[in-house]
Symmetry: C2
Subunit: 157 residues, 2 copies
């Protein structure tokens, strides 16, 4: 059979056959640290894409919000996440729901990577970053302020 296979094997280091290993964002306009992006499924027959993001130890995603929602499962490691003012430790296979227009961010622990899968509508709006005023309003919650400052980092045993 000359047609492409329907199977793509996982490779060491949370890579996959035929899946390009990409930077998290294509430009440097938003703050983030040590994070990669792999698009596992992007099929015109499906209404959503399925991506895998991985932060190196101490890395973090962009603090942002948007009209579109995210469905997230942690695939590797442990870390911390914030969704709409709720700050929680996360571990492998935990689920995180990110509704429309909620501020959210993920952080890896300081000694191990954090990888998560994210399902998202293929057609979606661009993320928005917090203004200085919005950031200050978020910081009124002490847990959020500690998260944003990286003071809540936990260590994987």
């Amino acid at each position: 059979m000359d047609r492409p296979s329907h199977f793509r094997s996982v490779q060491p280091g949370y890579r996959w056959d035929g899946v390009p290993y990409l930077p998290y964002k294509d430009d440097g306009s938003a703050p983030f640290k040590d994070i990669s992006r792999q698009v596992l499924f992007s099929d015109p027959a499906l209404g959503c894409e399925w991506r895998y993001f991985e932060m190196a130890a101490g890395g973090y995603s962009t603090l942002e919000r948007h009209e579109h929602a995210h469905a997230v499962m942690i695939l590797r490691g442990t870390g911390l996440a914030i969704v709409d003012g709720e700050v929680k430790p996360v571990q492998t296979h935990d689920l995180v729901s990110i509704p429309a227009w909620t501020w959210h961010q993920f952080r890896a622990t300081d000694n191990a990577p954090l990888g998560f899968m994210c399902m998202v509508n293929t057609l979606r709006d661009k993320p928005a970053l917090p203004s200085a005023e919005e950031r200050e309003a978020m910081r009124e919650n002490p847990d959020v302020a500690a998260f944003l400052d990286g003071r809540l980092l936990v260590t994987t045993p």
Copy 2:
């Protein structure tokens, strides 16, 4: 905060907080064996659902096809899958693409469970089962015949 949490923790045995543990299908009209269903995300804001299916050792899903596509990642164990006449062993974190109208089935190994996640459009058609003639046509491929007879079962070390 009285609003529901955005976080749902994984529990032992590949269960999740707040996720009902369901039978694979709601009726007995299609053949399958020892398989459960958990809907991890079903959100009107998302075009797809994200489900987790798990077969006990020796279990299998229904051999079926439909207009809608599936995007699959193995989450637990090893097994075998068939997609459109292609028969392959699968292991944890492998990816499987199931295009429209392709016959597909998953089988756990004979001594360990096989769990997989499946992304699918929320709005979708009902699966169709093979007629006797379609099943015979599939069996002309010896690998497919061996798969359907359970003669290809591999054992997890």
